[in-house]
């Protein structure tokens, strides 16, 4: 009963870990992830690797174009391409 309440599969644990990198995991999900984290080496490795990636992304202060900005430049470039042909 107790085990069933807290048990999640490895895949579910990975999903919750991904979500928690974006603060999208609920408290209950985090508790279940921590429960698996205690006894599952694969989960521990995944969490460690995932945190490392998140830290690298934050440190690099990456910037990118907004979706709409990108589309606008794409349209303009396509127009230029058509004119050139």
């Amino acid at each position: 009963m107790f085990k069933n309440l807290f048990y999640i599969s490895k895949e579910e644990a990975y999903l919750i870990c991904d979500k928690s990198q974006y603060c999208d995991a609920t408290l209950w999900e985090k508790i279940k992830l921590n429960f698996r984290y205690i006894w599952c080496r694969a989960t521990r490795n995944y969490v460690k690797r995932n945190r490392k990636l998140t830290k690298a992304i934050k440190t690099s202060k990456l910037e990118c174009l907004e979706y709409a900005e990108r589309k606008l430049i794409e349209e303009r470039l396509n127009d230029q391409l058509k004119n050139q042909m």
């Binding site: 991904d18 990456l62 794409e74």
Partner: protein, 184 residues
């Protein structure tokens, strides 16, 4: 013999964010960066016939962008119409403390840190360029732009569970790529 070829139809997908990140770390202004990236693509189109194929497409575009950035700074300086001379003294009474002047100052340390961050950023973009278009778009929207899950799902017409599967695969590939190219 040409080792590389140009494919302008793929420029936006492959290089727009990389060039934008490269520019914004150098000019520190989002609007100007956007314009410079766009100008770079237009200039690239115009000078396609000059491309010899010796450098990769990205290296070639970066070399155009570098000239655009230099031109941008030249324009700013000519607007000012005067050269700026910077004194290193913090206050008058510190003038002549020549020994202290030789100690590494904070701005130098920050510059070094910025350079390292910028290199890490380039390494991450290198890895992002190896993802599929969909994975890269979803990953950038969620991770770099910080969009809400719902917004991305509406924009790209995908379900939330689909989004998390895409994010999971993208993160796996990125972690693996960075381990090979950066963390080693």
């Amino acid at each position: 013999m040409q080792d590389h070829q140009l494919n302008p139809k793929k420029w936006i997908d492959l290089y727009s964010d990389y060039l934008f990140n490269y520019t914004i770390t150098r000019v520190n202004d989002r609007e100007i960066s956007k314009d410079l990236v766009q100008d770079t693509f237009f200039a690239g189109l115009k000078s396609m016939k000059n491309y010899k194929g010796e450098a990769s497409e990205r290296t070639w575009l970066i070399s155009i962008l570098k000239r655009k950035i230099i031109d941008h700074y030249r324009k700013i300086n000519s607007k000012k119409g005067k050269a700026e001379v910077r004194m290193t003294y913090i206050s008058d009474d510190q003038e002549g403390d020549w020994l202290e002047e030789r100690v590494e100052d904070e701005s130098y340390l920050n510059a070094q840190e910025n350079l390292e961050n910028s290199e890490l950023g380039n390494a991450i973009y290198e890895c992002i360029s190896k993802l599929s278009d969909k994975q890269a778009t979803v990953f950038k929207m969620k991770t770099i732009l910080g969009y809400e899950t719902e917004t991305i799902c509406n924009e790209l017409d995908i379900t939330a569970s689909n989004l998390w599967v895409i994010i999971h695969r993208a993160r796996l590939q990125l972690a693996e790529c960075l381990e090979k190219n950066w963390f080693k």
